[in-house]
Symmetry: C2
Subunit: 301 residues, 2 copies
């Protein structure tokens, strides 16, 4: 078993590098970050639990590290923000050796580097099951963060990419769909485009399935959604996987009527799937019928 | 079992209230915080695991919630910072009912309110063992955060309060020492006093025992410590508990020779226990003998 000092040294080495705003990184009681003038900071935190979010046998440690950060960066993207830093808390299980720990941080740092996210701190502990919690912070010009609550009656609803890949991958465990499940790509460039150029009225990332996530967006906005029955479905996925499957990490967003939305952005399709209407806040219809919110809920049996 | 929406609503209600800088709290993809001009932000994160940091039978849920936040705020204090906000990730075990969850958040929010810390977000999950991870953020005037690495040869070393209470409490499980173990009080006012008034050269909180924590401070500062053998020991605790026991959450700090340090601050004793000397960085002596760093290490057998 490793000792804690050696482990911290190893993580420090893997995370080395400068990042704007980072005054003090790993190694003190706390990290120090200097915000830029005129920016709001957005904060999100996501847990990843062995046996719940990943399996020891089927998920490589680098995949676990990648996903642990990708989930937070997907939220950062949904706010229209640019990543700044993250903190990583990790409880190791008895079966974790140095190779697993190295792989985990390599996967995490790979995504951190490619997105400009500095690893500035965290905590180490142990438990029966590997448990990690990642805090991600992003920056956005003051007052410009994209929220869930800004959609208005008449707004058009769009989704990026295609849906159901992650649920399909989890079922078949092979090919491109499985890789999509293991290595989701946070839609950071799209998030900034939605904020700066399209002036989206609301945005949210799809982590628990569009049926559940869109209900949440509608509740916050106080509107109802009418989906026309069209949906960009990932090749091979079922309609149910596309509607209710979690972990696609695409963005759902709304724009004012009349906004010109390109058919794609950076190779990612942008499809209109319906519009916001007056009605019971949070109710979603699909091809004229009420759509049940069957997405993932941790506490539902 | 609760559903996730009901749980989030409950937490939102418990955490209600305004706090400076908080633009958007619980309920969106991410929380939004607006930093004040001229301030650095400090960030720390701490995990609390059932069976490692607390026991279901002996720790009330409100004690667990209090301690989950207290550990982070103790780091904030050690940086000389003022608390701003926290995010709380919580994985619930199958045995957790609504009463436990309510108690946990009540304990946490009690400390949050009394210290001006806003709860702005988090994550909910489930696991075999209750696991929580709290991120705490504090603010400090630009460039003024107290670090571990600032101690110089000749500086005097002080500790606040008395040591060994938590280790004693953990052993005897009753009385004032046990309450100190269950409900540590972050030394926030002292941290600000060290930064503003005493201009401490280095500071750190005592979470793993002074023998281990002081070694870490010395390593970062590139100095050795000579302890004179005096130590403010909690009544009833042994010297070993005071030297190596963890979780006292007092502050150890250094000041330049000639600094006038009061005998107490706000009812908390401030005792000089030694001085920094030239020598192997990180080595600590105690009454003329080398002091082994026997404090708590998660990964040592």
């Amino acid at each position: 078993m490793m000792d804690e000092r050696a482990l911290v040294r190893r993580i420090k080495r893997l995370s080395a590098g400068q990042a704007p705003g980072v005054v003090l990184g790993i190694g003190d009681d706390a990290a120090v970050f200097r915000p830029a003038d005129g920016e709001d900071l957005v904060f999100t935190t996501d847990m990843l639990v062995e046996g719940v979010h990943f399996e020891r046998d089927s998920h490589r440690p680098s995949d676990v590290g990648h996903k642990a950060l990708a989930r937070g960066l997907s939220d950062v993207a949904a706010m229209g923000a640019v990543p700044r830093f993250c903190l990583v808390s990790l409880a190791l299980a008895p079966w974790c050796g140095e190779r697993w720990v190295d792989g985990f941080y390599r996967g995490l740092m790979g995504l951190a580097r490619s997105t400009g996210t500095a690893l500035i701190g965290g905590d180490l502990s142990h438990s029966d099951k590997v448990t990690c919690d990642v805090v991600a912070c992003g920056a956005v010009p003051c007052g410009e963060a994209l929220r869930r609550g800004g959609a208005r009656v008449g707004d058009l609803i769009f989704v990026s990419g295609s849906l159901g890949a992650s649920a399909l991958g989890l079922k078949c465990r092979k090919g491109a769909a499985w890789r999509r499940h293991l290595r989701p790509e946070p839609r950071l460039a799209l998030g900034s485009f939605l904020r700066e150029t399209l002036r989206a009225t609301a945005a949210m990332d799809l982590s628990d399935g569009v049926s559940l996530d869109l209900r949440r967006l509608c509740e916050e906005s106080g509107v109802a959604a009418e989906l026309d029955g069209s949906l960009p479905i990932y090749p091979g996925a079922t309609v149910a996987q596309a509607l209710h499957g979690g972990e696609d990490y695409e963005l759902v967003f709304t724009v004012s009527r009349g906004t010109v939305v390109p058919a794609e952005f950076g190779g990612l399709a942008l499809n209109c799937i319906g519009r916001m209407v007056a009605g019971k806040p949070g109710s979603v219809s699909w091809g004229g019928q009420p759509l049940a919110a069957l997405g993932y809920d941790h506490f539902r049996k």
